[in-house]
Every structure is written in C-alpha cells, then in structure tokens.
C-alpha cells in the first residue's frame, strides 16, 4: 500500500533518483506514441492478426543481425518489410484471403528464426531473450534516438495517410474511385506497423509488442467515437500503462516489458467492465424513472401507481 501511504516515494522518486528509469520511461512513451497512432488503424481495420504476425515475423531478421553482428533494429525492419512484401505478393497472386497469407508467413518466418537460432551456441540466448521480452531498463542514448526517429516516422506517416486510411477503412471500392489509392495505403499501413514494432523492440520485446499495438487503441475505442480523438486517448492510456508498468516492475522486481503489457491489457479489461457496469446502472435508472408516475412527489418516495391512477381518473 506504499503507493497510497507514501505516494511521493512510490510514484516519483524512482524516476528522480535513477537516470536509467528516466530513459526507460522516455523510451516507453516514444514506443507508445508510435504504436498507438498506428495501432488505431490496426484496430479499426481489423488487422490485429497481421500485427501479431508481424511482431513475431521479425525474429529471423533479429537472429541474422545477431549472428552477423549488425544492427538488430535494421534486421528486424528488413524482416518485417520482407513479410509485408510477401503478404502483398500472396494477396495479389492468389485467390487466398489475407488471413491465410498472414498465417502462412507468420509460421514460416517464426520457424525460420527458430531454425537459424538452433544452429548457434548458447551465448546468444541471453541477448535474444532481451529482444524477445524487452529490456527497457537497459536503454542507452542511441536507443532513445532510434526510438525518437521511429516515433516521428509513425506520426508523419499517419498524418500523411490520414485521408487514404479513412477512405480505405470506410470502403475500399470508394477509396479507389476517390483517388485514394487503397493498395498503396494498405502497403503504407503495413510498413508503419513494421516501423512501430521495431520502435517497441527494446521496450516490450517482439513477443509482447502486440499489447501496446492493440491494447491502448482498443481501450480508447470503448471511450471515444472519433478517429483523431481515439489516437489521442490511446496515447494517454498507453502512457499510463507504461508509467504504472515500469513502477510496478521497479518496486516488485518483475519483468518490465511483461508488466507494461499486463497493465495495458488490464486497463482494457477495467474499462470494459466499468463501461458495462455504467450501462447497467443507466438502464436501471431509466427503468426506475419510467415506473415513477409523472408529477408524483412524496418525501417517503414515489407515490403508489394505483393512487396516482385514481387521482387522474376519479371514476
């Protein structure tokens, strides 16, 4: 109960006293900025499965980058782009629905990553687990710069493609006739998803990035009904989940990425149940209001229906 009895020590001191916590918080906020604005379109377009598949499909890129000693971010980005290209190619060349193309490449890329890793010695395992589950507390200055760039790319992309995404989400046929180039817009969205996943690699890791990509936008949709507003609320909710997640991890020594992901999903469930309860309460109030006869005032409660009826109809 320290967070209630000693709020300053619980909520603020970990950040004021520890530079690594400040960097972790900033990295988390940048990752959320990127995932929430892109994730809003993922949720609205029903592309959650694709988001999950992309998050896992970057594994071979990471593995190859590790082995060759190159940039993990670049490896993940290339793997994600290869997967995006593959999905588009299968979509254009076959009568298969998108989910089949995504499922095939999801399994294929994940399996490829595991096969590449299985050929290596155990020295990579520790580093790789940090990428799979995140290492937000070990973030350096260069990582922050990379996160800032990827967040800027996501924000810029979402602003530039706002109208094509709107038209595409509303009706793909109309989008084409309105000159909004739906195929290009779809491809751009896939690239932005890949970019967001790369942005979150060090924060929550590839296996948990889905929680940030879908969690805050899905929660925001329960609360607001306009797309720009949904993005803004998703960012705020994501920041809240990140802040609480990092603090819980700090005080209770839990895995930071997983705790943030858990907070994001927990927030969604809390809002969902809170909303359902509020709706039930409103309905109960309406029913009570409907039962009460008009103009009946009594200090002991509403007048009995029979007496009210007799007053209005003396015969």
């Amino acid at each position: 109960m320290d967070f209630l009895t000693d709020p300053w020590a619980w909520w603020v001191e970990p950040f004021s006293d520890n530079p690594f916590m400040q960097r972790a918080l900033l990295a988390g906020f940048l990752a959320v900025l990127s995932t929430s604005v892109v994730g809003t379109w993922v949720v609205l377009r029903g592309l959650s499965f694709l988001g999950d598949a992309l998050a896992h499909g970057v594994l071979p890129g990471i593995a190859v980058a590790f082995i060759l000693g190159g940039s993990v971010t670049l490896g993940a980005l290339l793997a994600a782009l290869a997967m995006v290209g593959g999905i588009s190619a299968i979509r254009n060349l076959s009568p298969l629905r998108d989910d089949s193309a995504i499922g095939l490449l999801f399994v294929g890329m994940l399996a490829l990553g595991v096969v590449i890793l299985s050929r290596q010695s155990g020295s990579y395992v520790g580093d790789l687990s940090r990428l799979l589950f995140g290492s937000v507390t070990g973030i350096g200055g260069n990582d922050l710069l990379r996160s800032g760039i990827t967040a800027a790319v996501s924000l810029g992309g979402v602003l530039l493609f706002h109208r094509p995404f709107m038209a595409l989400t509303f009706d793909e046929t109309q989008a084409r006739l309105l000159g909004m180039r739906p195929r290009l817009a779809h491809f751009a969205l896939l690239v932005l998803i890949a970019n967001s996943i790369v942005a979150s690699l060090q924060v929550v890791g590839t296996l948990l990035v889905f929680a940030l990509l879908v969690g805050p936008p899905a929660t925001a949709w329960l609360l607001v009904r306009r797309v720009p507003l949904m993005m803004a609320v998703a960012v705020l909710l994501g920041w809240l989940a990140t802040y609480v997640g990092i603090l819980v991890s700090f005080h209770h020594d839990t895995a930071a990425g997983a705790t943030m992901a858990l907070c994001s999903v927990g927030l969604f469930l809390a809002v969902l149940f809170g909303r359902a309860l509020a709706q039930q309460g409103r309905k109960a109030m309406q029913r009570r209001g409907a039962k009460r006869p008009k103009g009946a005032h009594s200090p002991d409660g509403p007048a009995p229906i029979r007496s009210a009826a007799n007053e209005s109809n003396p015969t």
């Binding site: 609205l44 109208r163 038209a167 509303f170 046929t173 109309q174 006739l177 309105l178 306009r226 797309v227």
Partner: protein, 299 residues
C-alpha cells in the same frame, strides 16, 4: 407513384424537348449544359465472365452527357456488374468501353454496416477527397458546397451523428450527398432508391435530375419500373441486353414478359401501362399481406 417533372416555361416554348426527360429540367432550371464538353461514353460488345458464368454478354450502348439511364432487370441479371465495369472497378472479358474522365459510384448500401467511428460529416468530406488530395484543407467554397449538398439531401441535422447509428434510409441519403460532392461526369448509382420511403425516393430522383442538368451522365439500377420510366433511356438486362431505348419503347408488355415471365404480367390487374401492372400487382400483394396481418391481430 410518379415523380412529376416541372413543365417547360413559356420562354422555352421554342426549345425542342422530349416530354418526361431530364432535358426538360435542364432547360427549365436555366442551367447551361456542358454537353459537347464531355464526350459520350460508348460501350461496344461488352462481355464479362466469372469463370464459366457469363454475367454480361455482348452489350453495346451509349451514355450521353446530361442523360438519365435506368438499368432494370431481375436479381442476378448483371446490373451491378455493368455499373462496376462502367466505374472501372471490373475489367470486361472482351469488348471496349470509352474513356471516362471522372466517375462517382454509389454502391448498394449493404456494404456500409461496419461500426467504425465516423460521423456523417466525415463521410461527406470523403466526397471531396479527390479534389483535396492527402492534406489540403477545405476552402470556404468547398465548405459551402458540402453544406449545400447536405441540405439538398436533408442530412444537415445529422452531421455530428455516428454514420453507423443512423437509419439505412438516412445512410442512403448521406451516400448520395457524398456522390453529389464528387461532381463527376459519369454518376453511377446502384439501387439508390431501394428500401426508401416516398419522400426520400422523391428527393433522390430530384437530385439525379439535377445532376443530369449539370451535364453529368447518370446511370442508376432499379427494381422500380415506375422510376425507370423517368429515364431518357432504359437498359433492360438479363445478362444480355433484352432491350434499350426510350422508356416507352422498352417498357412494353412483350419485353416485360420476356424479363419477368408471362404469368407475372398477366396475373396483374388491367392498367394502361405494363409497368404499372407490375407495380399494382406488388401493391395488391402488399395489401393482401396487410389484410392477413390485420385478421390475425383481430383473432
């Protein structure tokens, strides 16, 4: 049910117009028609095949600027396929179709049921996307046009409502206003009046006439033969062109029998026009359903 067109004014007495066509409205409104500026769309021997199924076979026709064309035919006769080919959304298997400068297409509204968080105003703005591009803001004139279109279709008071939460008739009118905002030379409407009340149908027919008055070639598919009679030409489809031409030449007893079957036409009460027979037959059936419902309620 009829949608009367305004009579030509006395000043236009010298203008030769065919009664009951959009030309009348055009002349009446004093709108300078852009006929000639936009070439007519000519389709030659159009065929569309889906595997072994031939959806359209050997269709040839022309769409003049400023004309209203009704496409009629039973379910599965290729009406939507034809509109999609005209819109450029579907490539014909063979045959050719002339170049269309700008096309607006209003699909049948069943596809717009997804509960995405969009308000009516946002759906209307999409009608201006082609002109606005990816990021240009609306000018004052475009804002005014949007308001005008919303008022013409009587959806101005719905602007802040969620599109997924308004009625299907209101949605139809919003989509019509969006189509209107595109100011296209070829306007394609897939069953724009199906399922609408009388006032909404009248409103949409008026707007279609006004679009013709602007110089656009308007093509609409319909199951309402009485509304098809207001077109300048009717294309009667049954996967092939059963008949084409002015309504009085196409909506004949023989053609309707070919299209809908002899039994349906002869089962209807006597009327002056075969198209009315179908309408009256439909109304009789509706009346019988009402009577049955009333009797059931009384029992």
């Amino acid at each position: 049910m009829k949608f009367p067109r305004p009579s030509p004014p006395a000043s236009n007495a010298g203008v030769k117009v065919r009664a009951g066509t959009v030309s009348e409205v055009r002349e009446d409104a004093g709108v300078r028609v852009r006929a000639g500026a936009v070439p007519e769309v000519r389709a030659e021997k159009l065929c569309v095949e889906f595997g072994v199924v031939r959806a359209l076979e050997n269709l040839s026709f022309a769409l003049r600027p400023g004309s209203l064309t009704a496409v009629i035919g039973p379910n599965g006769s290729g009406k939507t396929t034809l509109l999609m080919v005209l819109a450029g959304l579907l490539q014909p298997s063979s045959g050719s179709i002339g170049r269309r400068s700008s096309v607006a297409y209003m699909p049948h509204q069943n596809g717009h049921g997804a509960p995405i968080p969009l308000i009516v105003a946002e759906v209307l703005v999409m009608g201006l996307y082609r002109r606005l591009g990816n990021y240009r803001r609306m000018s004052a004139a475009e804002r005014e046009r949007l308001t005008l279109a919303a008022e013409r279709l009587e959806v101005a008071d719905l602007m802040r409502r969620q599109f997924s939460e308004i009625s299907s008739g209101q949605r139809q009118r919003v989509l019509m206003a969006q189509t209107l905002l595109q100011q296209a030379d070829l306007v394609l409407l897939d069953e724009p009046i199906t399922g609408l009340d009388l006032a909404s149908r009248r409103r949409i027919m008026d707007v279609m006439s006004a679009e013709c008055g602007r110089g656009a070639a308007v093509v609409f598919s319909t199951h309402h033969l009485d509304e098809a009679r207001h077109g300048d030409q009717v294309l009667m489809l049954d996967n092939r062109l059963v008949a084409k031409g002015p309504p009085e030449d196409v909506l004949t007893k023989e053609n309707l029998e070919t299209l809908y079957g002899e039994r349906v036409i002869h089962g209807a009460p006597d009327c002056d026009h075969p198209a009315d027979r179908l309408l009256v037959l439909d109304e009789h059936a509706h009346g019988r359903r009402l009577e049955t419902a009333q009797q059931t309620t009384l029992q």
